[in-house]
Amino acid sequence: MRLFSRKKYTSIKVRKKDLPGGLWIKCPSCQEIVYKHEIESGQGVCPKCAYHFQISWKERLALLTEEGSFEEWDANLESADPLQFTGQVAYTAKLVESRKKSGLKDAIICGKARMGPFTVALGIMDFSFLGGSMGSVVGEKVTRLIERATANKLSVLILSATGGARMYEGMYSLMQMAKTSAALARHANAGLPYISILTHPSTAGVMASYATLGDIIIAEPHALIGFAGPRVIKETTREDIPNGFQRSEFMLKHGLIDLIVNRKDLKETLIRLLGYLSRSTPPAPSNQPIVEVSAPTTS
């Protein structure tokens, strides 16, 4: 179903907005024009090349948990403006705009949910709220999630989608890295499992705290994962950036993550791993071995 050839119609990206209801989407990986419905029903994965689009926390929740089992925690927390930060645009204006645009109060949704036989403490970051940045609210919600999990002997699962610490909250944001890591120290000390799932993109301050502290670290294919952005690295060091740098596959090759899992296999993989990590429940029966998946082809 190749509707357009690759090079002739590069202007299609601009025109896509004019299409009625945005029915078609150009895949940034294989450049094919794909029927939007096909992507949505396919869990946000390109049917041509298995490129993983960013999806909302709601879509992720539906993919991973048993319907109706989610109980949200700390839904009432909102960002304040402790620095009264004014740049080109004031932080408060940014917050208002982001709330309206994303329909979210901040960049993470936390709660308790069932996944197969397991009840887990689950945090899902959403990139659509200020680039999934971590300020006081994200830090506080993650910390409470972990603290509640420790108190109730639950596993913690956090899906990251983030550009790092939120600079509008200055040092308060930086300190969320320490705060969340402290909570994880106690959770780990209690012998409880924590699985970190890295989605596109997972970078900077969140990576340098809870996202890299999982007993198991899983990445979705071809996600951008790292500490410093490629542009910063290039500008600061003038080093050559290797091919595929800071992508999931690069991370796997360098031994920095446990496995890459396609979105459609994520729930089953997590349930199986939770079985191995829990002391009481044996692994869920299944015949399929979970093996490393191949990455989508790009460029």
Binding site: D74, N76, L77, E78, S79, A80, P82, L83, T86, G87, Q88, K105, G135, S136, V137, E140, T143, R144, A165, M167, E169, G170, M171, Y172, S173, L174, M175, Q176, M177, A178, K179, S181, A182, A183, A185, R186, A188, N189, A204, G205, M207, A208, S209, Y210, A211, T212, G226, F227, A228, V232, I233, T236, T237, E239, D240, P242, F245, Q246, H254, L256
Partner: protein, 332 residues
């Protein structure tokens, strides 16, 4: 001393040069100018006071980066004896941007760890401008665990623009190295005193920055992002760094007000670089004071306080706090 000066230091340095000339003149000619000299000295102090009373956040950043500012090894040389430097992370290499080792601070045997800048091209190459790779953070954690094993308190000095943003850093997972230090620091059963002695550059600073006391020298800064980096993102122009510095609330006074540091250690008038020995003596005094105070806590109490200290950081708004919720720190 005059060959590196900040713009706001110029009037002070001019007067100091004049003083030196007058002194030389009076000695050479054997003329009594004691009245003129004392007038000039008074004027210098007055000018310093004026200049340092009106420093902007950006001025403070410049002072924190002053090329003559004392660095970690300068303080180690001044405040302790019998320093034994220990090297390497036992896995990959010895990152010279972070130094550490046992030392005697008065009668206290401690582990001292700090980021180390260079002063000239050669030493800056060796020290990578004080920007550590993952192996630096892993060395720091190894030494902290060593200290903990033998019950030695840990003294940390922070002076870094940030962790090194390079290909090698990413290949060896600098994010994980920092995260692991953050988590493990909450389990170390010995007192930890952290002092920001110059630049507190983001995650690279925090990576060795978890402790029971966070002290900061007066003209240091500690920030989530460099003012230049912030300006590049929010103003799309690094030239707005001074505005970004003010917006980020990164000065020692801002941080004390926010409750993110415990104490400002005042610097000699004119900055630490104008009297390194005096600065070191004050730092030593404050370190010993806090060390002795922290030693009074039981280990459980110490770890619990450390947890609660960082647990309380953050300002949020609860729209409708529901019953049974954990305590919420509301906006002051």
């Amino acid at each position: 001393m005059a060959h590196h000066s900040l713009s706001f230091e110029k009037p002070i340095l001019e007067l100091e040069t004049k003083l030196k000339e007058l002194r030389a003149f009076s000695e050479a000619q054997d003329i009594d100018v004691s009245r003129e000299l004392s007038d000039l000295e008074r004027k210098i102090v007055e000018t310093k006071r004026q200049v340092f009373k009106n420093l902007t956040a950006w001025d403070e950043v410049q002072l924190a980066r002053h090329p003559q500012r004392p660095y970690t090894l300068d303080y180690i040389g001044e405040i302790c004896r019998d320093f034994v430097e220990l090297h390497g992370d036992r896995h990959y290499g010895d990152d010279r941007a972070i130094v550490g080792g046992f030392a005697m601070l008065d009668t206290e045997a401690v582990m001292i760890i700090g980021t180390q800048k260079g002063r000239d091209v050669k030493s800056n190459v060796e020290r990578n401008f004080g920007m550590a790779y993952p192996e630096g953070y892993r060395k720091a954690l190894r030494l902290m665990k060593l200290a903990a094993k033998f019950g030695r308190p840990i003294v940390v000095m922070i002076d870094t623009a940030g962790a090194y943003p390079g290909v090698g850093s990413e290949e060896r997972q600098i994010a994980e190295a920092i995260a692991m230090n953050l988590r493990e620091a909450f389990l170390l059963p010995v007192p930890i005193i952290v002092t920001v002695i110059g630049e507190g550059g983001s995650g690279g600073a925090l990576g060795i920055g978890v402790g029971d006391r966070i002290l900061i020298l007066e003209h240091s800064y500690y920030s989530v992002i460099s003012p230049e980096g912030c300006a590049a993102i929010l103003w799309r122009d690094r030239a707005f760094a001074s505005k970004a510095a003010a917006a980020l609330k990164l000065t020692s006074r801002d941080l004390l007000k926010a409750g993110l540091v415990d104490e400002i250690i005042p610097e000699p008038l004119g900055g630490a670089h104008t009297d390194p020995k005096g600065m070191a003596a004050d730092l030593r005094r404050r370190l010993l004071y806090h060390l002795r105070e922290l030693k009074q806590y039981s280990l459980d109490e110490l770890l619990d306080r450390r947890y609660r200290k960082f647990r309380a950081m953050g300002v949020i708004r609860a729209e409708s706090p529901s019953a049974g919720e954990l305590t919420i720190k509301n906006e002051e």
